[in-house]
């Protein structure tokens, strides 16, 4: 226990007052905070769906929750069921074998709902494009409100995309 405490104290607070990357996260964070309070009573529930990604985008989505970005401090959290979600974060080109699952997940989200397509694959099909096995961009299958380009996009970009979707 002593060592755990030592480690925690030694590491200190790494959560960025959000000013790296030219103040982006600070500004973003403040705006997000405000929108969150005003429109979502301080809590935005996100359901992430991998519709066929290479798992690269998932790594960056995970990173949004690390202590540097700490997305949860703005009241944004990931939920296990689409029925609890306000927003879908979809990655990957839509694999043909995921088409039904994606549509069902979308239908399960209560209205009003927002969809953010994360990563080049989700935005335009990316390197996989359209083929017998891939339906390409997410908007070919479900309506998309906001797109976040990048392969994969950085955590900051994804946070910006979420903000844009709820504003």
């Amino acid at each position: 226990m002593r060592r755990i405490l030592q480690k925690i104290i030694h590491k200190g607070l790494v959560t960025e007052p959000l000013k790296t990357e030219e103040n982006q996260i600070k500004v973003l964070g403040e705006r997000l905070n405000e929108v969150m309070r005003r429109r979502f009573q301080g809590s935005l529930a996100i359901r992430q769906v991998d519709a066929g990604s290479c798992n690269g985008c998932e790594l960056e989505i995970h990173a949004m929750n690390n202590a540097y970005y700490d997305l949860e401090r703005f009241g944004v959290h990931f939920v296990a069921s689409p029925r609890h979600a306000d927003l879908l974060l979809v990655t990957g080109p839509v694999a043909r074998n995921m088409e039904t699952a994606l549509k069902m997940t979308y239908d399960a989200v209560p209205n009003p709902k927002r969809v953010v397509a994360v990563g080049d694959c989700a935005v335009c099909g990316g390197e996989f494009g359209i083929s017998y096995a891939s339906l390409g961009q997410v908007s070919n299958v479900i309506p998309v409100n906001v797109t976040v380009a990048g392969c994969p996009p950085s955590p900051t970009d994804i946070i910006r995309g979420i903000l844009k979707a709820v504003q």
């Binding site: 480690k7 690390n66 995921m98 039904t100």
Partner: protein, 521 residues
């Protein structure tokens, strides 16, 4: 690549009364007749060769079946047989090598060839809504074919004993992870059987590779499994460079290894944290996530990409390091290794955490060996497999890793091995960067002759990746096959969770951390 095993296997097959012809082409391989295939596989299993993969390709007339084997320092062997025109059956390897089961199901799905003697020919990648008789990897199937949907269902294994029930999970899971379906048959919360149903993220990677030039194909290879992007790119490039007969400048091979070891460290750290998070120990998770982010940020600033995607390209690498870069990379690697060492000591003291991980999700040595489990999953149960040593590709031929194995085969052993491998990778990076020579980092690409190809085995953080490529006319890819370690390790997971309780499944699953994308392609 070390292909010494070719000769050994040829001798064994010939001694057993078969006929194996050594072909010194690119890549070197053994040719056996289709009547000798079964005998040859029997010879291989008797000689304790490890099975890597079986795959098919289409020739001008008819199809070929290829298989790869390995035996530690003896290196690798490739075996090929050509089926006669119109012949669509070949002898199944499943009676000898159980891990060939799903690969042969894929051949059946994608080429419509029938492995005779296969005990389970249900569709695997081809889901029930695909039309019958679509064989995407045949040459007469255009990649952009729009397939109509059809009704159908997948017959899962059933069990109707008293008190048994089924729990279907997925394909969309609760966390931020890839999709796949798990079907548990349980009594109470004890798992009697787990059946995996994968293929949900099948994007047609093998087919999309065809007709691409080498640079475009290497971008696709980098996206087979984004968490192992460096290793997959490297495996692809090694095979392509073999086909082209070009060497890579020494500085570039060292940089490739540095990137690959950094990728190993980053993923091991991330997973150690995530596994601890699954037993509700968020302290470790938070600490590991911070370290992982530090690594990603340095990759971003030094290599222009947080995951180092597309940094390894045919002929070399795209990113160089100056003295300043080398210094910061060395310093951070050592710092992270030290931190992980401290965290390991803390972890060892946590009896409540240790209690959860010891004895859960166990695979014993015999089963692991028979399946050929790879990477930390295999090494944590005494399967001494590491492509860096066995394939001896540069620069590991000069700077080999100290491969560690341990006993136990449970979550705890898999954690321990990964803590150890972080330290070893840090050592390697230290050696690599102190020996890094000056010089160019790119060799000019040369278009391979039609029909030439290559085979490579690269140790990703998950385990051995095997890649086989053949070029067609004008330097375009004719066929590209890749076997992610997950193709084999997923089977190990089914075994590991038997007799454990359902709530422990996420823990076992995380400790294997197989790739869905790498498996489904």
């Amino acid at each position: 690549m070390n292909f010494d095993l070719n000769e050994h296997l040829a001798r064994l097959i010939n001694d057993a009364g078969g006929k194996a012809e050594e072909v010194a082409g690119r890549p070197p391989c053994l040719r056996v007749s289709s009547t000798d295939w079964d005998l040859s596989v029997r010879v291989a299993v008797k000689a304790d060769l490890r099975f890597l993969a079986v795959w098919a390709s289409q020739e001008k007339t008819g199809f070929s079946i290829h298989a790869a084997f390995s035996q530690k320092e003896k290196g690798y062997a490739l075996m090929t047989m050509q089926l006669d025109a119109g012949q669509d059956e070949f002898p199944s390897m499943v009676p000898y090598y159980v891990s060939s089961a799903r690969m042969e199901r894929v051949i059946h799905d994608m080429f419509g060839l029938i492995p005779v003697g296969h005990p389970d020919l249900r569709n695997w990648i081809k889901h029930e809504h695909w039309p019958d008789k679509t064989y995407p990897l045949r040459k007469d199937f255009p990649v952009a074919t729009v397939m109509p949907r059809q009704e159908g269902f997948y017959p899962f294994i059933e069990m109707d004993g008293e008190g048994t029930h089924e729990i279907p999970v997925g394909p969309v899971h609760a966390g931020i992870i890839e999709p796949g379906h798990f079907r548990f048959i349980a009594v109470g919360e004890r798992i009697l059987n787990l059946e995996e149903r994968l293929g949900y993220v099948h994007k047609g990677i093998e087919k999309s590779m065809e007709e691409r030039d080498v640079f475009s194909a290497s971008r696709l290879a980098a996206r087979i499994s984004g968490d192992a992007t460096v290793a997959h790119s490297w495996a692809f490039c090694l095979a392509a460079e073999q086909a082209a007969g070009i060497g890579v400048p020494p500085r570039a091979t060292i940089l490739r290894a540095v990137l690959c070891e950094r990728e190993r460290i980053a993923n091991h750290i991330g997973d150690i944290g995530a596994i601890c998070n699954d037993v509700a120990w968020s302290f470790m998770h938070v600490q590991c996530q911070i370290l992982r982010e530090n690594l990603a940020r340095l990759h971003g600033s030094l290599f222009g990409h947080r995951l180092m995607m597309d940094c390894v390209t045919p002929g070399g690498v795209t990113c160089n390091l100056d003295a300043e870069g080398i210094k910061s990379l060395l310093e951070q690697t050592q710092e992270v290794a030290r931190e992980m060492n401290k965290l390991f000591q803390i972890y060892e003291d946590q009896t409540s955490i240790r209690e959860r991980v010891i004895g859960s999700g166990t695979v014993d040595f015999e089963n692991a060996r028979d399946m050929g489990l790879l990477g930390y999953v295999g090494r944590s149960t005494e399967c001494d497999i590491d492509a860096r040593r066995d394939a001896a590709y540069a620069p590991y031929d000069k700077i080999p890793p100290a491969v560690k194995t341990c006993r136990g085969g449970d979550v705890s052993a898999r954690l321990w091995i990964r803590f150890e491998e972080i330290q070893e990778s840090a050592n390697l990076i230290d050696k690599l960067l102190t020996e890094i020579p000056q010089g160019p980092i790119q060799e000019a690409w040369q278009i391979p002759k039609e029909g030439d190809g290559g085979f490579s085995a690269v140790e990703s953080w998950r385990g051995e990746i095997a890649t086989w490529i053949r070029f067609g006319a004008n330097g375009k890819i004719d066929r590209s096959y890749v076997r992610d370690p997950s193709m084999i390790n997923w089977m190990g997971l089914e075994l590991a969770v038997r007799e454990t309780v359902v709530p422990d499944f996420p823990l076992s699953n995380k400790s294997f951390n197989c790739s869905y994308s790498g498996h489904d392609l």
